[in-house]
């Protein structure tokens, strides 16, 4: 099972979180973690704990906002949502990520 799962690359988690918030709207840490696992079809080995330092990083940069709310099981939970700055950041990071991916793809095809 371990062999088929890849680790989350440094720096990619931030974009995944931002993108998740964009598509799902405000959600709590557990929701974001589950969503990332589902979207990746469980091919990523995501330690759910690493979501929280990533969320803090995004909060500190002002890309997301946090608010206490009530979860589906009637517990108090922190809900995160995208800020205006965060939306712009998604555009920037998507662009840069696509460039990297394209470059990597070129390397991989020429080596064949």
């Amino acid at each position: 099972m371990g062999e088929t799962k890849s680790d989350v690359l440094q720096g990619t988690l931030d974009l995944m979180v931002l993108k998740t918030l964009e598509s799902m709207g405000p959600s709590h840490g557990y929701g974001i973690a589950r969503r990332i696992e589902q979207v990746s079809n469980d091919t990523l080995s995501l330690n759910q704990g690493t979501i929280y330092p990533a969320l803090l990083r995004l909060l500190q940069r002002g890309w997301i906002k946090a608010e206490w709310g009530v979860s589906e099981n009637n517990r108090r939970a922190k809900y995160y949502s995208l800020s205006r700055l965060g939306k712009k950041q998604i555009e920037r990071e998507t662009e840069s990520w696509e460039r990297i991916a394209a470059t990597m793809a070129r390397f991989l095809t020429t080596s064949d």
Binding site: Y30, N47, G49, P53, R75
Partner: protein
């Protein structure tokens, strides 16, 4: 601007650590509970559900620690810890602490003293017109009857040098004294200098208020305002709150009346290293001093071994000539 936002966030977090810690605990607890419930819904047993939820969330304590480090100002936390640790260590070894503090104190003290001296002698210049052109005159009497290196000068000698010299555009006398000083409720000693009337003129200085001493103040009985006195900018500000109406005020110096005629410029502290006069009096004041106390024959600077009254009258005779 990112770094600013991050710094702000870290600073506020540093100040509200306890509350944020509680919030983080609550948030992570909610996460685990949500995971357990989902696992239960998918048909797991109670204990399996919890075990799997925790497994997916590797190292709860580690995550919290990473989070805290990223949130606040860890270097300040570490610094506080180091200081506490250092203080404890010093308390356990008071002898060592004492020697260490003593060594530091002596080291800092010696450095300060050496620098102060270097600063005064080599680095700073006097706030006068041409500080580089000032020289201090002294008579070398080694080998003579009196045998002294810095033999005292007196007014006749100064006037003789003035008459003969070609290279100086002004020669003035400057003697440092401490005077008993009275002005209304103020009654204490004051550090001062007796200077010849041309001193301020030769130095090219301008008063902060009123006027400075002039050669006219050297006349017997004083100048136009009686015995004139100039005070330092420092005491003008400290004692008289920089009041310009101070000019014309009557004061008592060594039980003798004098009139404040002006204030020396700010930053001027005399021409002799480490002597900071707060009052400047004309040479005529020396005559007044000696007339009152005729037995004083030798004074620190600027007098001869002659009886003072003789010296003063000799100076006067010379001037009249």
């Amino acid at each position: 601007m990112d770094w600013l936002r991050i710094l702000w966030s870290r600073c506020t977090a540093f100040l509200g650590t306890k509350k944020l810690d509680d919030e983080l605990d609550e948030e992570l607890l909610a996460h685990i509970e949500l995971a357990v419930e989902e696992n239960l819904r998918s048909g797991m047993l109670q204990e399996d559900a919890r075990r799997v939820a925790l497994l997916k969330f590797e190292g709860l304590a580690q995550v919290k620690e990473t989070y805290r480090l990223q949130r606040g100002l860890p270097f300040l936390d570490a610094l506080a810890q180091d200081i506490r640790y250092g203080a404890r260590q010093l308390k356990h070894a008071p002898g060592f602490a004492f020697i260490a503090v003593l060594t530091l104190a002596l080291g800092i003290g010696a450095n300060t003293a050496v620098f102060t001296l270097t600063h005064a002698l080599l680095l700073s210049t006097l706030p006068v017109r041409d500080p580089g052109e000032l020289v201090r005159l002294a008579i070398d009497l080694r080998g003579s009857e009196i045998n002294g290196r810095n033999a005292p000068l007196n007014l006749p000698i100064i006037e003789a040098i003035e008459k003969q010299s070609r290279s100086f555009h002004g020669i003035f006398a400057w003697c440092v004294y401490d005077f008993p000083f009275k002005d209304g409720s103020i009654n204490n000693g004051i550090h001062g200098a007796i200077v010849s009337g041309n001193a301020f003129e030769s130095l090219g200085m301008h008063p902060a208020a009123g006027r400075l001493l002039t050669p006219a103040d050297d006349q017997p009985g004083g100048g136009p305002d009686g015995l004139a006195a100039v005070i330092s900018h420092r005491i003008w500000v400290e004692r008289y709150h920089a009041d310009p109406s101070i000019v014309g005020r009557h004061i008592t110096v060594t039980d003798h009346g004098a009139t404040i005629v002006g204030v020396a410029p700010a930053g001027f502290e005399g021409v002799i290293v480490a002597e900071h006069p707060d009052i400047y009096l004309p040479l005529e004041f020396q005559a007044v001093l000696y007339a009152r106390q005729p037995n004083i024959t030798a004074v620190a600077c600027g007098s001869t071994p002659l009886p003072a009254s003789t010296q003063a009258s000799a100076a006067r005779r010379q001037r009249r000539r």
